[in-house]
């Protein structure tokens, strides 16, 4: 690097062909800024749209699954033949889940009210049940000891005007304060819910049912079911078909629609690139003719145009990937209130696709031009 002249000479000596090749590539892009920019723009837009759609398609399922979990439990664990579950059942379920879901214990007894009416008393964990069954409409959650959550329809039976009431089970009574009412439109409306420790101290009945909302794909949920069955041989573990099948159906249809849309959009984008790039290569037939007239071999010219198309594809794919990730993140934020996580595994696909389309759009005009004499092109006919 002593003098510029000698360094240039050295470089030329080292790789004369490469340097000329690169120079032609760069100059071609610089001199015809307008055309190059419009070809690159088409490439970038196509790559961006393709990236956004692929990212969205992969991430959409995870996002929608999260929404579907608000339907509540998809797995139920019950004691065989109506017996209670072992005391460590909940702990075992938690270990199997490994934090990927919510498990809520329930224990049921038929209790009697002061005037002899039967009502179902349920022991549960209020904190967990709030997370599991978000559709429960509760006026106020119990917060202290001796408080109960009373179902809409059970309320007139156990406690008119919200007064404290007694429940009896096998001769043992418990005094309860109604903290609030519960409305679900289903069986829960006829029950009285109290916290698990109080329920256990009163009735002595252990957990009979554990309801689980397990996150993940259908296969993952099936895996959880079989692992639970292994961990708890005394219990019966079954998926809630109403929830699992409904989810699979809606998700499957949505996925298929987004997939069809993604294919259409990517195809349009690719065709847009094909049209623009074909024009751009065709437009340079004079360069082609001059190179040929100056004695360049067919393979060198083909290599040159291919390299040009490939570099355009690569640059366009990289820029488009960045923009596409931005679009996907924006859609995620607007629609799901959570950004779509960028998937870098999409990048090689987009890159390969872009280069392939770019090469394809170079091949068509090239094969047309090859058949024509350079003189005719240079004459401008």
């Amino acid at each position: 690097m002593s003098t510029p002249a000698s360094s240039i000479a050295k470089r030329r000596a080292a790789a004369p062909h490469t340097s000329m090749f690169l120079r032609m590539l760069v100059r071609a892009a610089v001199l015809r800024r307008g055309r190059a920019a419009s070809a690159l723009l088409a490439m970038v837009v196509a790559a961006a749209v393709a990236t956004a759609m692929m990212n969205l398609y992969v991430d959409m399922q995870a996002k929608l699954r999260k929404e579907f979990r608000s339907y509540g439990a998809n797995i139920v664990v019950v004691g065989k033949d109506g017996t209670s579950l072992p005391p460590d059942a909940l702990q075992k379920v938690e270990t199997t889940l490994g934090g990927r879901g919510v498990a809520v214990p329930f224990a049921y007894v038929v209790a009697r009210t002061a005037n002899g009416q039967s009502v179902v008393g349920v022991g549960t964990d209020f904190e967990r049940v709030q997370k599991l069954n978000r559709w429960w409409s509760v006026s106020a959650w119990p917060s202290g000891t001796g408080q109960a959550l009373v179902g809409m329809r059970a309320q007139p039976v156990v406690s008119l005007e919200g007064k404290p009431f007694d429940l009896t089970f096998q001769g043992r009574a418990i005094h309860l304060n109604p903290a609030g009412t519960l409305q679900t439109g289903a069986a829960e409306d006829s029950r009285v819910y109290l916290s698990m420790p109080e329920f256990l101290a009163w009735s002595g009945v252990q957990t009979t049912t554990i309801e689980i909302a397990a996150n993940g794909t259908a296969e993952e949920v099936n895996g959880v079911v079989s692992r639970l069955a292994e961990a708890l041989p005394v219990a019966e573990v079954r998926p809630v078909r109403q929830i699992v099948e409904g989810e699979a159906r809606v998700l499957g249809k949505t996925r298929a629609t987004v997939y069809a849309a993604a294919i259409l959009i990517v195809l349009t984008a690719a065709l847009c690139v094909l049209a623009t790039l074909t024009g751009w290569v065709f437009d340079r037939r004079k360069d082609f003719a001059i190179m040929k007239a100056l004695g360049a071999s067919e393979s060198l010219i083909s290599g040159f145009f291919a390299a040009e198309a490939a570099s355009l594809g690569a640059v366009g794919a990289t820029l488009g990937f960045i923009i596409g990730i931005g679009i996907a993140a924006w859609i995620g934020r607007v629609n799901f209130n959570a950004p779509v996580v960028p998937r870098f595994s999409v990048f090689p696909v987009v890159l390969a696709g872009s280069i392939a389309v770019a090469l394809l759009s170079a091949i068509v005009p090239m094969s047309l031009l090859r058949r024509v004499q350079p003189a005719i092109i240079l004459k401008g006919e």
């Binding site: 929404e67 038929v110 039967s118 429960w136 109403q242 809606v250 984008a269």
Partner: protein, 421 residues
Amino acid sequence: MFARLLYESFRRQKRRKLLAGVAITLGVAVATAMIAVATDIGDKINRELRSYGANLLVTPQEDTIDVEIGGVNLKPPSDGNFLSEADLPKIKGTFWRHNILGFSPMLPVNISVGNPTHSQDATLVGTYFAKHLTFGKDQFTTGVRNTHPWWKVNGSWPADDSSDVLIGEHLAQKLQLHTGDTLTLAGQGYHIAGLLSTGGAEDGQIIAPLPVAQRLLGKPDAVRRVYVSALTKPEDALARRDPKTMSGELWDRWYCSPYVQSIAYQLQEAIPHSHAEQIRQVAQNEGTVLSRIKGLMLLITLAALFASALAVSAAMATAIFERRREVGLMKALGAGNLAVAALFFAESTLLALLSGVTGFFGGSWLAYRIGRSIFDSQITIEPVLFPIIMAIAVVVTFAGSAAAIRRAVKFDPVFALRGDA
């Protein structure tokens, strides 16, 4: 002269016109298909969401509380009030009858099943499987087969007028009963048509046609509750308001919107002495899932429109840019900027209209295919979509051409003719 220029331009430059035309056709086709799918997806997904089962429950007004654990009723079933089976077809006479996709009455009866050595208490539920009913001139079929689509039968579904029954798979295992066996209840034999698997409480129950349960209970015409599956509109601020506090006009709007609350209200009106309520697990979650999917499709449609607009503009820009020499010649012969621009715009418009029509029909066909293969039903294309799509096609083609035309017109004819572009 203008018309001749236009005509010759199309006649002599078939390849270029075809290329631009194909781009516009494809762009318009994708836009049409996506708009059609996006406008219809709400309805389609709403129907799919019905596979979660009923979202409304009708019970007698003065109902006593259920004492039920794990699907076993622990209360004398003759207790309490009943609805009348004869009133049920009136559900199809309510304002939102077309939104009610099906309903299933349920009548649980406590019975004891098994052989003399081993007998056990179980619940038999009488219901409709796929019952044909008539209300006025309307004929319809309803029952658990459309309100509870996750119920699977190993064997065959019983007919509603037979005395065949289904037995839950757990109960069948416990009693060692199989399809084709005879089940003895209250001294009478019932043929088991199949084993039922639901993953819920029904696995430990016996499901029978409604008349069988009514006979066992000794109460003809009695129904304990009715599950109704209805297409609803996601809840909004108006839906959550108490209808009793609404003014006349607001109340009309509430009544005439398919909210789950207003359909419940109309069911109460239709069936005497009844109380209808939403099943919150199903009804409350539908809205969120539906709006998420609709939002997703809307945004994807925007992306599709954007992509097709760009494809069209790029094709037009390329097509015009290639014709600099022509512009140079026209200008050298004395044509004004206006005349040149007018010719190009006329060409673009013609191209947009021709390709737009093809694209619209291509897009309609695409939407039809998508509807058929994904949802097994047709996606309706609103006729109003046609002028909108055509307008979009023309505007986008214009916008795409405008920049290229401006550049072409500004060009010095000398350079253009020498080919130093």
